[in-house]
């Protein structure tokens, strides 16, 4: 294998991985903390993407501000969903949780179809993100580098803000046993809403950042669902670093197969996942149950 090929695989693999990570990080947070398998995660990403595409045009605001607004709207929608529907499902089994979020996904898909039509919508990036950067042996689109940077920032911030703070403890307590958590003074309502909103906002951010590679269209939510779940499962049930490394592993495997035997790229992706899960059922970084 030539050096150029190897480095190309690495560069493309890593950027692809970072996009996977950006989109899944919100999911791995809600799953790790709230233990809710949110199958509508993709719907939040999709909503973020579509809003980011349309808000700047319709409101005439700068693209960057549009993105912030889009993320905020998604967080708001998430809180509404959490307050009115999801909260009824914390005590129910995984399956019911999956299904109510699938229901949401269907509704979101129908809504997006109605509002934006069924074809691909491109998310216009701020001017500064355009163009390519020359790496010597090849060039790489600048927005991909920005996505990589975003991914790193997100993982750092989340590590500080969630994993290492009492917030994370309270969320996990609330999810483990809500009545008892309340009985020792935890306001589970607020905690849930906040966590879910942050997870959805991260989804929106990931959706926007990844829109170049996973393009926005109404079936987005269901189409990439399996990939999102794969990253989270391989990473270890909501472990942030887990999904970071899982994204790297799966991203690089799939990318290198694309360079070598493209027909088998998806098969390789799923095979990797099966192998990892058979040998480490709790995922790469998961805690043993």
């Amino acid at each position: 294998m030539s050096f150029a090929l190897l480095s190309s695989i690495l560069v493309d693999g890593v950027t692809y991985a970072m996009i996977l990570f950006m989109i899944t990080v919100g999911l791995s947070m809600t799953m790790g903390l709230m233990r809710v398998v949110n199958l509508a995660h993709g719907a939040f990403a999709m909503l973020g993407g579509f809003l980011a595409a349309s808000i700047p045009q319709r409101l005439g605001v700068p693209v960057g501000l549009g993105f912030v607004l889009a993320i905020a709207v998604v967080a708001l929608v998430a809180v509404l969903f959490e307050r009115t529907l999801l909260r009824r499902f914390y005590r129910r089994d995984d399956l019911d949780q999956m299904l109510v979020t699938i229901g949401l996904m269907f509704v979101a898909t129908a809504a997006v179809n109605l509002m934006f039509g069924s074809s691909v919508t491109s998310v216009a990036l701020p001017e500064a993100f355009g163009g390519s950067v020359d790496l010597g042996f090849r060039s790489i689109p600048r927005h991909r580098l920005i996505v990589v940077a975003c991914g790193l920032v997100v993982v750092a911030v989340l590590w500080l803000a969630v994993d290492r703070s009492s917030f994370g403890i309270r969320v996990r307590a609330a999810v483990d046993n809500a009545p008892i958590a309340r009985a020792i003074g935890i306001d589970t309502t607020r905690i849930y809403a906040a966590t879910f909103a942050i997870g959805a906002a991260l989804a929106a951010l990931g959706g926007i950042a990844g829109a170049e590679m996973l393009p926005m269209e109404p079936t987005y939510a269901s189409k990439y669902l399996v990939i999102l779940l794969a990253v989270v499962a391989v990473g270890g049930n909501g472990n942030l670093f887990g999904s970071f490394f899982a994204a790297l592993l799966l991203g690089i495997v799939e990318t290198s197969m694309k360079y070598m035997v493209p027909q088998l790229a998806s098969a390789a992706f799923f095979l990797t996942m099966i192998v990892v899960l058979l040998f480490r059922p709790q995922g790469l970084f998961g805690r043993q149950a």
Binding site: I169, A173, P179, I180, A183, I184
Partner: protein
């Protein structure tokens, strides 16, 4: 003490689950520094009574006052923050948290540096195992953790649902001593549910005996101790 003592009071409370009453027409009151015992057979409604106080069962009739406010409609966490401490029956340790995290979860905004050392002093075992998963502890250790988790929130009235279950005799003594001390020195009020009648009688000033959801006796512990007939009938205890 400048302010009047905080009091938990049940007035003619009927309560249960999903509309089915389990405990009926119960009235009692506990103040800071007082100790109330609650005994009765399996399924008599002891747990339900405590759960009602903290807001985990349906209050169907009657009023509950705490610190001068009617808390019958208040949220559970607000009751906890107002100073009701709860040690649930069966421990209910949060499985995804470590021992220390379980304790931190009960802090209610207090500083860990202040709140943890006293409970670690009370249960040195917990300090040793503080990085372990909460449910990896032995049964008795979990019980210690459950009590400790309530204590870090510095409650004014403590609801203890079978806190001694699974504890070794010596630890039981230590724990009961500690609670008595807390109650005497810090003026914490206690409601104790416990299977061992002797323990309850030694501990409490007043006792309620529940029989199928109704108070069959409410009065001083000393008087109850003498009433063997009642004890036998309601709890099935024969004193030797």
């Amino acid at each position: 003490m400048p302010s009047p003592p905080i009091e938990l009071r049940f007035d003619d409370v009927t309560t249960g689950y999903a509309g089915v009453p389990v405990v009926e027409h119960l009235s009692f009151s506990v103040r800071e520094g007082e100790r109330l015992g609650l005994i009765g057979r399996n399924g008599a409604g002891k747990t339900t009574t405590l759960a009602t106080a903290i807001g985990l069962a349906d209050l169907m009739q009657g009023r509950i006052h705490f610190g001068g406010n009617d808390i019958g409609g208040a949220t559970t966490y607000a009751r906890a923050r107002a100073g009701l401490g709860y040690v649930p029956q069966g421990r209910d340790i949060f499985p995804s948290l470590t021992v220390e995290e379980n304790l931190l979860s009960g802090l209610q905004g207090r500083s860990a540096g202040v709140a943890l050392p006293p409970v670690y002093a009370l249960f040195p075992r917990l300090k040793e195992r503080r990085r372990n998963g909460g449910t990896q502890l032995s049964g008795g250790e979990q019980q210690m953790l459950s009590v400790a988790r309530a204590l870090v929130g510095q409650p004014r009235i403590l609801l203890l649902d079978e806190p001694l279950e699974g504890l070794a005799p010596m630890v039981r003594e230590e724990l009961m001593d500690a609670i008595v001390r807390m109650s005497d020195q810090l003026g914490v009020g206690c409601v104790l549910v416990e299977q061992h009648v002797d323990v309850v009688l030694d501990f409490s000033t007043n006792v309620i005996v529940l029989e199928r959801g109704v108070a069959a006796y409410a009065g001083s512990a000393a008087a109850l101790r003498e009433d063997e007939e009642l004890l036998n009938r309601t709890i099935g205890i024969q004193k030797c």
